[in-house]
């Protein structure tokens, strides 16, 4: 009973003897005492001295105890100031009035020092508990605000990074909660230098800041490598390695990546742990599921990681529909999942493509599920390449120091061809030539075509006629991957020759492979429609370059780019 700290106690009592006695009792218990003769004095004294506890006589002249209690409680605000009514009132009605006025306890006359001491101590405990609660509440509020502010800052920084991409392209629609980042949801899209579109929908494990921290490095790898012209495979490998290195063991990122090539009308897919995405054909029919065949990013060591992609043909107005698990995992009140079947029904039932999201969301609503804040939807439409205008690359140098008279040769042999994509590296070298920069899209595309022709048809000996229909398409790329894995010999030689010419200059690219070659005349004589799907992209090469020719029975391609003097 000695644990209490001295308090300041206000005593309001109109009887002089009672006041004297009570003040003495309270002082004897070690507290400081303020006395008032009526309610009005008590309120004034309270406002001035802020005592921690008040003893109030109920019936007093000028202002009675009930009114005084109300005013004191109001003045005290959030702070708990216990009020003990001093009363010889015995009827229920009077006691109820004391409580209604804000009284916390009673002390009956005649006063007992022992009971009064016990009551003061009990009230003091209550008072301190209340103060602690307020303090903790304020602390929680402070922490909460702090956290919100941190999230705002993190989001602002992240948005700067994420908006480097092309989510605003006219053929992309998406729906994502503004704070999706803190659900671990991640949506990235960017053009490659050749005008292909890379898209990533990811979902980090966990919630809050821990789920968001991995997003930044992942976005950087994605944008950095896409901008340099790396393909999905290299980008995936790098993202996986980076996440594996920086994330704790129980953290990883489910991800679905797409590489949309609108020129060659195909889409490359890699799905690690995300719900099935769908390829919705413009000609109708069952949605084609883009199934997860891999573990999420950040789980496997680089040695075990499998970056193998699936490739599907992509006709104009075909659509790709991706979603986060927030959609299929939405629960109704019976803990039932919305599930894949209901989603598929919604996709099939959709009649107006532009209302696809609305239809899916309506289906979710009809299902009656608890709406989740981590629902991400993404739709990409296949369009003609010229509809999309990739943003011009910004170069930081003036171009004054362009190297203008050189040549180089590479020979890439089997072990290198398996894993290494030399094109981004070569493009970087070619970007140094100022006059070529405005053609860099075309240059990228042509180099890409030449290299894949040399690799796929030359070194790997794949027959492009396989790609005539959708299933053949997929089979072609499976076979490509199989042969590449087993590759023991073969080479691709690449010669770049740059020379100045009348103020401008020209670049000659020669690509040579160890394959069997092909009948150039026959392929070029085919109708254009057929050429597009399986014609080695020869027409593309001819269209984009100034001059293109094939020699050595198709084993060697020679392409020329030229540029004028710069203004």
């Amino acid at each position: 009973m000695v644990d209490h700290q001295p308090l300041t106690v206000l005593i309001a009592e109109d009887g002089a003897a009672d006041r004297l006695l009570l003040a003495r009792i309270v002082r004897n218990q070690g507290h400081a005492v303020l006395t008032a003769e009526n309610g009005e004095e008590a309120v004034a004294l309270f406002a001035e001295k802020r005592p921690q506890l008040v003893l109030l006589d109920a019936l007093m002249p000028v202002m009675d105890g009930f009114e005084a209690a109300r005013r004191i409680k109001k003045l005290a605000g959030e702070t708990m100031v216990p009020i003990i009514f001093l009363t010889s009132l015995t009827e229920e009605e009077g006691l109820v009035r004391c409580l209604e006025a804000g009284g916390d306890d009673f002390l009956a006359k005649p006063y007992s020092p022992v009971i009064l001491s016990a009551k003061i101590n009990a009230m003091d405990r209550l008072r301190r508990l209340h103060a602690t609660m307020l303090q903790q509440r304020d602390e929680i509020a402070r922490h909460h605000n702090h956290l919100l502010n941190e999230q705002r800052v993190a989001k602002a920084v992240f948005d700067q990074v994420a908006h480097a991409g092309c989510l605003s392209a006219p053929n992309i629609r998406y729906l994502q909660s503004p704070y999706a980042l803190f659900n671990g949801d991640l949506l990235l899209a960017a053009f490659t230098p050749t005008g292909e579109m890379h898209v990533l929908l990811g979902d980090f494990t966990g919630h809050g800041l821990p789920a968001a921290v991995g997003a930044m490095p992942l976005a950087e790898v994605f944008y950095g490598m896409t901008a340099k012209g790396y393909g999905l495979a290299e980008t995936l490998r790098e993202m996986n390695a980076k996440l594996k290195r920086i994330l704790p063991v129980d953290m990883f990122c489910c991800a679905l990546l797409l590489n949309l090539n609108f020129e060659r009308r195909m889409v490359e897919v890699w799905n690690g742990g995300m719900p099935d995405g769908y390829l919705l054909s413009a000609s109708g029919g069952e949605p084609l599921p883009l199934v997860s065949r891999h573990l999420p990013l950040g789980v496997l060591d680089s040695a075990q990681f499998d970056e193998q992609t699936e490739v599907w043909p992509l006709a104009p107005d075909d659509r790709l529909f991706l979603l986060s698990d927030g959609v299929v995992d939405t629960c109704d009140e019976h803990e039932q999942l919305f599930g894949v079947e209901r989603l598929k029904q919604a996709l099939v039932a959709n009649r107006q493509p532009e209302r696809l999201f609305e239809d899916v969301l309506q289906a979710l609503e009809r299902f009656g599920g608890q709406s989740r804040d981590d629902v991400s939807l993404l739709e990409i439409r296949a369009v003609a390449p010229q509809v999309l205008a990739p943003p011009p690359v910004v170069y930081s140098d003036s171009g004054e120091s362009s190297p203008l008279d050189w040549s180089l040769s590479f020979e890439f042999r089997a072990q290198t061809l398996k894993r290494f994509n030399p094109l981004p590296y070569l493009m970087q070298v070619l970007q140094e030539i100022h006059g070529l920069r405005i053609q860099s899209g075309a240059l990228h595309s042509v180099l890409n075509e030449l290299y894949s022709n040399a690799l796929e048809h030359g070194v790997l000996g794949l027959d492009s006629s396989l790609k005539r229909d959708a299933s053949g398409f997929a089979a072609y790329y499976q076979e490509r991957s199989r042969r590449l894995q087993g590759l023991q010999e073969g080479f691709i030689r690449l010669h770049l020759h740059v020379e100045p010419q009348e103020g401008g200059g020209r670049l000659i690219i020669e690509v040579e492979d160890s394959g069997k070659g092909f009948d150039v005349g026959r392929v070029l004589a085919r109708p254009l429609v057929e050429q597009r799907l399986c014609g080695r992209g020869l027409s593309l090469i001819r269209r984009l370059s100034r001059h293109a020719e094939w020699a050595d029975e198709g084993r060697r391609a020679r392409v020329e780019f030229a540029w004028e003097a710069l203004a």
Partner: protein, 115 residues
């Protein structure tokens, strides 16, 4: 005068609590009581009368004046039942009891100041 008017045990406790101020408490009570009695006599309504009786009852109780406190309680109750015929009787009883009690407290004052 018998000791029934005042609870001696209460007086003992009061002296223990008040120590040096015990005398002052006794004197204050006597002064205060004169005021209370004045209020009883001057009361112009049942309410005022009940209020005065209630207050007086409280301080008498604290001071151990048990008979006086009981009379005040009766008055406080009686006031709530109209009509008030015969209430003067009760007030007179209170006056008489106070006269007796006052003498006892004065004796106590003398005892303390001499002691």
């Amino acid at each position: 005068m018998s000791d029934n008017h005042i609870d001696q045990k209460v007086l003992g406790e009061l002296q223990e609590v008040m120590e040096d101020d015990y005398l002052r408490l006794l004197e204050t009570f006597l002064e205060d009581s004169e005021l209370r009695l004045g209020e009883l006599h001057k009361a112009k309504s049942a309410d005022e009368l009940g209020h005065a009786a209630h207050s007086f009852k409280g301080s008498c109780g604290n001071m151990g004046a048990v008979v006086l406190a009981e009379l005040c309680r009766q008055l406080e109750d009686r006031v709530k039942q109209q009509p008030l015929y015969g209430i003067e009787d009760l007030i007179n009883q209170i006056d008489r009891e106070y006269d007796a009690v006052r003498q006892l407290y004065r004796d106590e004052c003398r005892r303390v100041s001499v002691g």
